[in-house]
Symmetry: C2
Subunit: 343 residues, 2 copies
Amino acid sequence: MPHREPGARNASVKDVAATAGVSLGTVSNVLNRPDRVSPETREKVQRAMLELGFVRNESARQLRAGSSRTLAYVMLDAANPFFTDVSSGIDAAAEEVGLSLVLCNSRNSGERERSHLALLEQQRVQGILVTPVDPESSALEEVARRGTPVVVVDRTRSDQAFCSVAVDDVLGGRLAVEHLADRGHTQIAYVGGPAHLGQVRDRLQGAREAWAAAGQPEDSLTWIETAALTVAEGREAGARLAGIPARRRPAAAFCANDLVALGLLQHAISSGVRVPEDLSIVGYDDIEFAAAAAVPLTSVRQPRQLLGRTAAELVLDEASNPNHTHRQVLFTPELVARSSTQG
Amino acid sequence: MPHREPGARNASVKDVAATAGVSLGTVSNVLNRPDRVSPETREKVQRAMLELGFVRNESARQLRAGSSRTLAYVMLDAANPFFTDVSSGIDAAAEEVGLSLVLCNSRNSGERERSHLALLEQQRVQGILVTPVDPESSALEEVARRGTPVVVVDRTRSDQAFCSVAVDDVLGGRLAVEHLADRGHTQIAYVGGPAHLGQVRDRLQGAREAWAAAGQPEDSLTWIETAALTVAEGREAGARLAGIPARRRPAAAFCANDLVALGLLQHAISSGVRVPEDLSIVGYDDIEFAAAAAVPLTSVRQPRQLLGRTAAELVLDEASNPNHTHRQVLFTPELVARSSTQG
DNA sequence: AGGTCGAATTGAAAGGTTTCAACGTCGATG
DNA sequence: CATCGACGTTGAAACCTTTCAATTCGACCT
């Protein structure tokens, strides 16, 4: 059984060629066009490879070929199930065309995002999908300008410098609040933040539009701004909501994502507030845990896998189609009513 | 503003050298040892790089250097928050030593796992961390034998062919069932599967040991075997549990992971079964959503980030320490009691 | 003036794979 | 018997970066 010596260099095609008693080019042919090689030679070469523990050097291969067979997705937060679902859509599309997907996690840090982007660019990946910390960042532009296709996922940018794939957040906000208005609420809260996130603002805008359209006064919609879109912040928001004098306290909350909604729900239940009787809750994203919550969450569903798949298709088009033009795809969200709002 | 022509080749150090009017070696020095270059020259070279949109070619760099500055984690299932937490522990450790982490998702498929491993090996990553579909797979051995450090995460292997990092599942099972026995239960269920998973079996074994130690007859512990460890399967198991005649129906369930426990909880609540009054539930992993569940879940906590961090340290040791020896690290789980079991 | 030293710069070589034009061999065809 | 084509095989060139021994240049010393 072959076992590499601790310090031994990996075997190269040259070594394989020598061992098999053939030329370098033949070994390469066995690897890349086995049909052009006679069965005996092929056999001989394969034995040599096995014996030497030959592993193709992908760097050299890429160096020669000019680009890799890899696609990359730089996620904003791998701990948010929304993004892992998006990534599985990308993965499926990549697999169909024989590319590997690598994931990088920027964990909400612009610094990490930059360093991932730089490395991916240097690796000459076929394309980069990214849910950026800041969609207006010039770092993205530069990567694209230097020739690596970049597609922005679940965000939009004011100019149209990239392809992007997103969901209509204003509409989503409208759907959520229409639903609440239809159920007769007259005091509602919007829970989410920080304010500089485009999504947080868009969903709020939609919420306000729907609220106005329902003939409700502007000041009966309270914004409870959170520091992040996490479960912990949702719980915290619950405490703040509970602190509002009963007379003016909203009986319904629209949360900017499901993590916040779950936190809010948890706080409500643990402090004896009944959902939906005392407090209706609408989430956003419709992650799996939303339906699985003990009070299943009404939520605004986004086509998560489709988002990923479409982004992958756009980046592949940009990578291979010479007359590619940038497109901004906008999907339509959909309200899924469950028990956390009154039937 | 520089904008690459559509078909234009990326600029190389050679082009930069020509533009800046210096030699190739100087450009390389600017990149790698800027202090050895006079400020004026450095400045000149950097201007040229900017002008040409120069991007270092990582393939050529690696080819020369022999290995990359990357660590990889092949996850079993990126949609399970347990694994994303493990990955964030790895990420933290990698970041400290200046390595990038790339994630690959095998989505429970041995085929995908193999193809990821092959590519990573060809990319000469510094090391591979993997939570394998099947820890006994020979593919893993081969990768390691050919010289890429491999560490198995959250699994153990019968031989000691690799470093591995895991948590004592037998003990975890014992803790869970001791907790239930202490609370006076006399009929309990173990919910999890499929049976071929080592973890599922180990946790069951621990459960049985504790149950016997509590003086309970063997047949008062029912195994409800599921097809996978998912929320959907947990719900399904709930239906099966409800189907058991009331007299013999377990009043407590120990679930092989939190996803299953959440599914079971959801089924219970939606069908009017009170938790914990009618049914106590213990989960496993203590993922964030366990604490955030509407009935906060009692769960067996595993040190998730630490698991990842330790695995990363082991793989780095193997990669750089010539007298590395394989170690099997086993962490101790801890029961976190919450409202889903009676106080 | 001749010599020494250090700093800055140079350019060839190496690293592994793929491609491709060219070569050799053999059997078939005219 | 000469010619041709098909098939299998060859080896040099190219991809781009890094390294390192060698070189140049100027300043400084005697």
